[in-house]
Amino acid sequence: MNSDLMFFILAGVILVFSVLTVTTRRILRAAVYLLFVLISTAGLYFMLNYNFLAAVQLTVYAGGIVVLIIFSILLTSHISERAVVANWKQSLLSALAIVAGATLTLISVFRFSFTASPEPAAPSGVKDIGAALISYGENGYALPFEVVSILLLAAMIGAIIVARKEKIKVDEKDLK
């Protein structure tokens, strides 16, 4: 029962703060609400016994990405700035679309009867995950691991190139 209660608390936090993230008019607060959502998600992972994943979620998402977002907010806007939201017509249309979409999806979800597998869970300790990431064959994830590492490298270089300040060209005439 404790874990059930925990689930509902986490679910409530996730939903409430998700909605706040996309509706608040203060961008910095939105980032903080997002942080709460991400932390609650990590809580869900803990509940599912995926401890390593939860830890990654906390460090990379909550610790990395959100900090990055907050920095960029501070770089690009004033604290007091209020976000401009779409006009009511667009909001209404979007709301209709997502309500319809959510309804569709939920109907599908509930129409399908999932049967839980009775098999025992695979070990998901840090050591097992590490071994799986560098092994190949069945239950080996060396290839995605390498691919994602290259992606990360490319993203890093790309980010540096894109965000780099252009060198200010000085006209030789101006110097004279």
Partner: protein, 637 residues
């Protein structure tokens, strides 16, 4: 056999000069471009004289003068059977034309150095003159009828450019357009004729066409239309082109207006060279006319005869001196056409052919002289209208003398050249068609009358007071006058019957005094009448004009030919043909295109909003689209 391939240089040098002056003329001093143009033409003239001397007197094998294809390159290979060549053809008439054109053109070039001095566009003028000389020389040297057609059009273009030389003057622009359109209309007939002729004979080549064993003459048959063979029709169409260029009735209306151009241009193009292109064309195809289609030749004769009388009557009443000369030109070309039309082929029968070319030659001399003289007069008094002139003989002694020589020549008084050539035309006409013969007698009298009317009105008559004393033209203008006067006097002694004949063989010529003496007497009567009427200011002209007021009025208004044309074109063609076509073009053809464009524009204007550049709009469309698809595939499928 002498190699005449250098003759190709005669047209090419003016072409090079044209390109050179046309492209670089604005950078040099005007006089330099004039001198370059003159030098180029002088070179061509020298070559033409060398050609003429070696061709006519340089010894030749066999009897008569052969036609020699001196140079030819294939220019367009359209199909295996259809090749268009460019080259130069040397035979008596082309050599004669070379001499005429280069001589007159050279004179006009020299004259223009003085006449056009200080004009705006001096180098442009010389560039156009060179272009014209190139076109005309290419025309007479043409080895085939298509080359002739090409140069024929080039001549038309350069004539257009030169008539419209004073393009700031609306009347000059209108005149150049008129000349171009009328001759172009006539050239349509020429082109149709060429196509019909070459379709029937499978050749463009002049030598093949005129050879007596060639397809044109040996098989003139073919389908007939309205009683005339296809060959006859094609030759009549070709003659239509010639009539347009030569200002024959009823395609003459452009020539008087063409006098809007500078006077040297009138002398070169509209008196001596271009307008005789029609005569040359008929002469070039003469064997085909004479042997293959005598009916077409009859048409030529009557058109020539009617034109000469018609123009002579109009010339008697005009007051613009250049227009008088223009109608006189038309009348004289009518003579030439008539001579060709009454001629037979070979030997003494070919007298008319010889006479036409003879007259062409002498006419070029004295008509160029008349025009240049008129130019000198205009240069002196800055006026074209003879009512504003009179008593000029004191001021312009040289012009007066040369003009008088030219008038006597054209009147046909022996022993000046006009007498010989005109006399032979009359003889030829007498032997062929008495009606035309008497018409020409009348025209001879009228010619003498109107020329001396012109002469007395300019140089005698009333003493007019001028704003400033008229001054004699500069030496550079007098010299060409003297040279041409010399030519007018002595050109008649050239033995044309030995040189330019229909079959290339010389024949015996005897002056028929029974015809010559009356014609001289008629001319003298015309001169006398003119002297009585115009030497001093008298009331006689007005009285006579009053007594035949209708004829006078009709003649003064050129028999209302322009009005007839305007009526036909504006009232009939424009209203009943052009307007519906224009309507169709504007509303159906353009409408379709505009409709397509309009629909496209309308559609793109409306769907433009789809490409709003707003990412969220795209995302919205994408998401809703995906949802619709999901809905369809998951729930409805």
């Amino acid at each position: 056999m002498t190699d005449y391939s250098y003759t190709i240089l005669i047209p090419l040098v003016p072409l090079a000069v044209f390109l050179f002056i046309g492209l670089t003329g604005h950078k040099m001093k005007p006089i330099v471009s004039g001198l370059i143009g003159t030098a180029g033409l002088a070179f061509g003239a020298i070559l033409a004289y060398i050609t003429a001397i070696s061709y006519f007197w340089g010894g030749h094998e066999g009897a008569g003068y052969a036609s020699i294809k001196a140079f030819e390159i294939p220019w367009l290979h359209v199909t295996k059977n259809l090749t268009i060549s460019l080259g130069s053809l040397i035979d008596p008439i082309s050599v004669m034309m070379l001499v005429v054109i280069t001589t007159v053109s050279l004179m006009v070039h020299i004259y223009s150095l003085g006449y056009m001095k200080g004009e705006k566009g001096f180098h442009r003028f010389f560039a156009f003159l060179s272009l014209f000389s190139f076109s005309m020389l290419g025309l007479v040297l043409a080895t085939n009828i298509f080359q002739m057609y090409i140069f024929w059009e080039l001549v038309g273009v350069s004539s257009f450019l030169l008539i419209g030389f004073y393009y700031e003057k609306p009347s000059a622009v209108a005149a150049s357009k008129k000349a171009f359109i009328v001759t172009r209309f006539a050239d349509l007939g020429f082109l149709i004729g060429i196509l019909m002729l070459s379709f029937n004979t499978q050749t463009f080549d002049f030598q093949t066409l005129v050879s007596q064993t060639g397809p044109a003459i040996s098989q003139p048959g073919g389908a007939a239309f309205m009683g005339l063979s296809v060959l006859t029709w094609s030759l009549i169409f070709i003659f239509m082109g010639g009539a347009g260029k030569s200002a024959m009735f009823p395609l003459h209306i452009w020539l008087p207006d063409a006098m809007e151009g500078p006077t040297p241009v009138s002398a070169l193009i509209h008196a001596a060279t271009m307008v005789v292109a029609g005569v040359y064309l008929v002469a070039r195809l003469f064997p085909v006319y004479a042997l293959g289609a005598p009916d077409a030749l009859t048409v030529v004769a009557w058109v020539g005869g009617i034109s000469s009388l018609f123009a002579a009557v109009i010339a008697c009443t005009q007051t613009d001196i250049k227009r008088v000369l223009a109608y006189s030109t038309m009348s004289q070309i009518g003579y030439m056409m008539l001579a060709l039309g009454v001629s037979g082929y070979g030997g003494h029968d070919g007298l008319g052919f010889m006479a036409a070319n003879f007259h062409l030659f002498t006419h070029a001399m004295f008509k160029a002289l008349l025009f240049l003289g008129a130019g000198a007069v205009i240069h002196a008094v800055h006026n074209n209208d003879m009512s504003g002139m009179g008593g000029l003989r004191k001021y312009l002694p040289w012009t007066h003398a040369t003009f008088l020589i030219a008038c006597i020549t054209i009147a046909g008084i022996p022993p000046l050249s006009g007498f010989f050539s005109k006399d032979e035309i009359l003889v030829a006409a007498f032997h062929h068609n008495p009606v035309l013969f008497y018409i020409e007698y009348a025209v001879a009298g009228l010619t003498a009358f109107y020329m001396f009317r012109l002469y007395y009105s300019i140089f005698w008559g009333k003493e007019t007071h001028y704003h400033h004393t008229p001054h004699e033209a500069p030496l550079v203008m007098i010299i060409p006058l003297l040279i041409l006067a010399f030519g007018s006097i002595f050109a008649g002694f050239l033995p044309f019957e030995e040189l330019v004949t229909s079959d290339g063989l010389p024949f015996e010529l005897h002056t028929e005094w029974a015809i010559a003496i009356p014609s001289v007497l008629i001319a003298l009567v015309g001169i006398t009448v003119a002297t009585i009427m115009y030497r001093k200011v008298t009331a006689i002209p007005d009285k006579i004009a009053g007594s035949v007021s209708h004829l006078y009025k009709w003649s003064y208004h050129k028999f209302y030919m322009d009005e007839v044309y305007l009526f036909v074109t504006k009232k009939i063609i424009f209203r009943f043909i052009s307007r519906p076509i224009a309507w169709f073009d504007r509303h159906v053809v353009d409408g379709t295109m505009n409709g397509i464009a309009g629909v496209t524009q309308f559609a793109s204007f409306n769907i433009r909003n789809l490409q709003s550049g707003k990412v969220q709009q795209y995302a919205y469309v994408f998401i809703t689209g995906a949802l619709v698809l999901v809905f369809i595939f998951v729930f409805l499928w």
